[in-house]
C-alpha cells in the first residue's frame, strides 16, 4: 500500500515489514514470516485508511484523554482487606513458597 504520489510525509508512511517485526518484538509477539507479510499488509491498509485525518487542521485543538472531565479523584488513606493469598496463588501458573515462580529473567529492570 505505498503512496502513489511518492510524497508520503514523515511519520505517516505506510508501515513496513521491519517496523511490524520491531513492534511485534516490543509487544512480545512472535510472528512467522507468512504472518509478518500478512499482518504488514493488513496494518498498512488500516493505517492508510486513517490517513483521512491527515488533512485536518488540528494544530490548535487540545487532545481529549477523557470524555467526561473529572479531576482530583482520590480515596482516603485507609487500609482495606487484602485478597486471600491462597485464592490468588491457586491461579498462578507456577508458584513456590507463596511467590510466583518465573524462569531466569535476563537483566535488570529498566
Amino acid at each position: 500500500m505505498s503512496d502513489p504520489s511518492g510524497t508520503t510525509p514523515p511519520g505517516t508512511a505506510p508501515i513496513t515489514r521491519d517496523e511490524v517485526a520491531h513492534v511485534a518484538n516490543l509487544a512480545r509477539l512472535q510472528l512467522t514470516d507468512t504472518e509478518l507479510d500478512q499482518f504488514t499488509g493488513q496494518l498498512a491498509a488500516v493505517l492508510d485508511h486513517a490517513r483521512d485525518v491527515e488533512g485536518l487542521d488540528v494544530a490548535d485543538v487540545p487532545p481529549t484523554a477523557h470524555p467526561f472531565e473529572l479531576v482530583n479523584v482520590t480515596r482516603p488513606d485507609e487500609v482495606r482487606p487484602s485478597v486471600d493469598r491462597d485464592e490468588v496463588m491457586a491461579q498462578a501458573p507456577v508458584a513456590e513458597d507463596g511467590q510466583f515462580r518465573v524462569p531466569p529473567v535476563l537483566g535488570e529492570a529498566p
Binding site: A27, V46, T64, P67, F68, V102
Partner: protein, 475 residues
C-alpha cells in the same frame, strides 16, 4: 419464540409478589437454554447449579417477607469479560482459559444485591475485539434469526441469549459498538450508557477511555430497569461519574411530543445498505407522527471517527493486554527465560485479531509516531465532541442506523478493514462518551432485524430512552 419471552419487569413483579417462584422462572429459562444452546453457542459457561442456589435464596427472602430486590428472580446473562468470583472468566481467549477471578465486578455485585439470577457467561469476540464473535477462541455464536449469520459482536453471545429467550436480560460491553451492533443484528434493545455512568471495575479492559458496560433486553423498559441497577458512582473506578443511579423509568412513556430529533446526515448515504436506510426513514416518520420535530442534523467530524478509533482503541488495548504474560495467571508456555516465556505464551494465547490490534496500538504509541497517530487521534476526538455538542444545541436526540447492514454470513467479512467498517455508526458516540441505544425497528429485505440508533448528550439517558420507548411503541 418460546414461553420465556416474559419481560424482566414482569418476572420481577411476579417473583416479588410471590405469584411466581424464582426457581420456576429459572428452570424455564434453563430448559430454553438446553433446547437451543448447542445450536447457537451463546454461552462459554452455563452456571446452572449456582443459578439454582441464587433462585432458591430469592424465594427464601420473599417467603421471609424481606425485600428481594428490583430484579428478584430475573435470569441475567453476563458477557464473559466481566469478572465473576470463582467462576471462569475467559474473554473468549485461550490466554485466560480456566482463570477464576478472586473478585466480582461491581456490576456483578449490584446484580446480586438486586436479586438477579446469573445464568452464565456469554461468548464474545476475543477480548471484545470484533463485530461478529468470529474472533472467539471457542467458536462463534449464531444469530437466532438465521444461524448461518453472525449475531454481531463483540457482545454477540449476550445478544443471542436475550434474542433466543435464554434470559430476559444480559450485560455486554461497548467500546466501538459492541452492544449496539449485535443488538441491532439480533433484534433486541442494546444500550451504551454515558461514559462513566456504569462502573468499569471488574470489566476486563479493552480500551479504557471507551469501554462501557450496558444492558441487553427485549424492551426499552427492561433495559432501563437493568441500567438503574448497575449505574451510579463507584469509588473503585476513578472515571466513574460522581452521581447516583438515575431514575430512568419514571418518564419513560411520556412520549415525544415537542422533542427535537436530528437525523445524522453523515451516517446516511453511501456506506449504508438501502434497506437499513429505509428503516431509519420509517423511524423518523414514526417519531414525527408521534409529535416529534424531525430535522436533519450534522456531525461533520463523525466521518473521521473510524480512523481515530482504530488508533486510540488499539493503543490503549496494547497496554491493557500487556499483563497477559504468563507470570501470575492464565496460560503459560514455558521457555528457558522469562522474555521468551512471555513471547511464547502471548503468541500461543492470543488470536490473530488481538495480535493485529496490539501491534497497531504499539505502533501508534511508539517513539516517532505518537504525534502523527495517537496524539492526532485524541485531537480528532475533540473535534467529534465539539460537533456533537453543536448538533445538540439544536436537537434533543440524534437518529441514525446502528449497523450499515443486517447480519452478514460467517466468513463474509474476513478482511479486517471491511469488518471495521461495521462500526462507522456506533463509534462516534464511544469517542464522545455520550449515551446511545439501538432499538429494533423492523426487518431488512432479507427478513433479518434492523436496529435504529438514538443518541443523546452526556447523562441524557432519560430523554434517549423516552424516544426509544416511543419508537418501540410504534412498531
Amino acid at each position: 419464540m418460546t414461553a420465556t419471552t416474559t419481560t424482566a419487569s414482569a418476572i420481577a413483579a411476579a417473583v416479588r409478589s410471590g405469584s411466581r417462584s424464582a426457581r420456576e422462572v429459572l428452570e424455564e429459562h434453563l430448559a430454553a437454554i438446553e433446547a437451543r444452546e448447542p445450536e447457537l453457542h451463546a454461552f462459554n459457561l452455563v452456571t446452572g447449579d449456582a443459578a439454582r442456589a441464587s433462585a432458591d435464596r430469592v424465594d427464601a427472602a420473599v417467603a421471609a417477607g424481606e425485600d428481594p430486590g428490583p430484579l428478584a428472580g430475573v435470569p441475567v446473562a453476563l458477557k464473559d469479560n466481566l469478572c465473576t468470583r470463582g467462576v471462569a472468566t475467559t474473554c473468549s481467549s485461550r490466554i485466560l482459559e480456566g482463570w477464576l477471578p478472586p473478585y466480582d465486578a461491581t456490576v456483578v455485585q449490584r446484580l446480586a444485591g438486586a436479586g438477579a439470577v446469573i445464568v452464565g457467561k456469554t461468548n464474545l469476540d476475543e477480548f471484545a475485539m470484533g463485530s461478529s464473535t468470529e474472533n472467539s477462541a471457542f467458536g462463534p455464536s449464531r444469530n437466532p434469526h438465521d444461524t448461518s449469520r453472525v449475531p454481531g459482536g463483540s457482545s454477540g453471545g449476550s445478544a443471542v441469549a436475550v434474542a433466543a429467550g435464554f434470559a430476559p436480560l444480559a450485560l455486554g460491553s461497548d467500546t466501538g459498538g459492541s452492544i449496539r451492533q449485535p443488538a441491532a443484528l439480533c433484534g433486541v434493545v442494546g444500550v451504551k450508557p454515558t461514559y462513566g455512568a456504569v462502573s468499569r471495575y471488574g470489566l476486563i479492559a479493552f480500551a479504557s477511555s471507551l469501554d462501557q458496560i450496558g444492558p441487553f433486553a427485549n424492551t426499552v423498559e427492561d433495559a432501563a430497569l437493568l441500567l438503574e441497577v448497575i449505574a451510579g458512582h463507584d469509588p473503585m473506578d476513578s472515571t466513574s461519574i460522581p452521581r447516583p443511579a438515575p431514575d430512568l423509568r419514571a418518564g419513560l412513556h411520556r412520549g415525544v411530543e415537542g422533542l427535537r430529533v436530528g437525523v445524522v446526515r453523515e451516517l446516511t448515504g453511501d456506506g449504508i445498505a438501502p434497506d437499513v436506510a429505509a428503516r431509519v426513514t420509517a423511524a423518523a416518520d414514526a417519531l414525527s407522527a408521534a409529535g416529534a420535530k424531525v430535522t436533519e442534523a450534522s456531525v461533520p467530524a463523525a466521518i473521521y471517527g473510524l480512523s481515530a478509533y482504530y488508533l486510540i482503541a488499539p493503543a490503549e488495548a496494547s497496554s491493557n493486554l500487556a499483563r497477559y504474560d504468563g507470570v501470575r495467571y492464565g496460560m503459560r508456555v514455558d521457555a528457558p527465560n522469562t522474555p521468551d516465556m512471555n513471547l511464547a505464551t502471548r503468541t500461543a494465547g492470543f488470536g490473530d485479531e488481538v495480535k493485529r490490534r496490539i501491534m497497531l496500538g504499539t505502533y501508534a504509541l511508539s517513539a516517532g509516531y505518537y504525534d502523527a497517530y495517537y496524539g492526532k487521534a485524541q485531537k480528532v476526538r475533540t473535534l467529534i465532541i465539539r460537533d456533537f455538542a453543536a448538533a445538540y444545541a439544536d436537537v434533543d436526540v440524534l437518529l441514525s442506523p446502528t449497523s450499515p447492514t443486517t447480519a452478514f454470513a460467517f466468513g463474509a467479512k474476513s478482511d479486517p478493514l471491511t469488518m471495521y467498517l461495521n462500526d462507522v455508526c456506533t463509534i462516534p458516540s464511544n469517542l464522545s462518551g455520550d449515551p446511545a441505544v439501538s432499538v429494533p425497528y423492523g426487518v431488512g429485505d432479507d427478513g433479518l432485524p434492523v436496529g435504529v440508533q438514538i443518541m443523546a448528550p452526556a447523562l441524557g439517558e432519560d430523554t434517549m430512552l423516552r424516544v426509544a420507548a416511543a419508537l418501540e411503541a410504534t412498531r
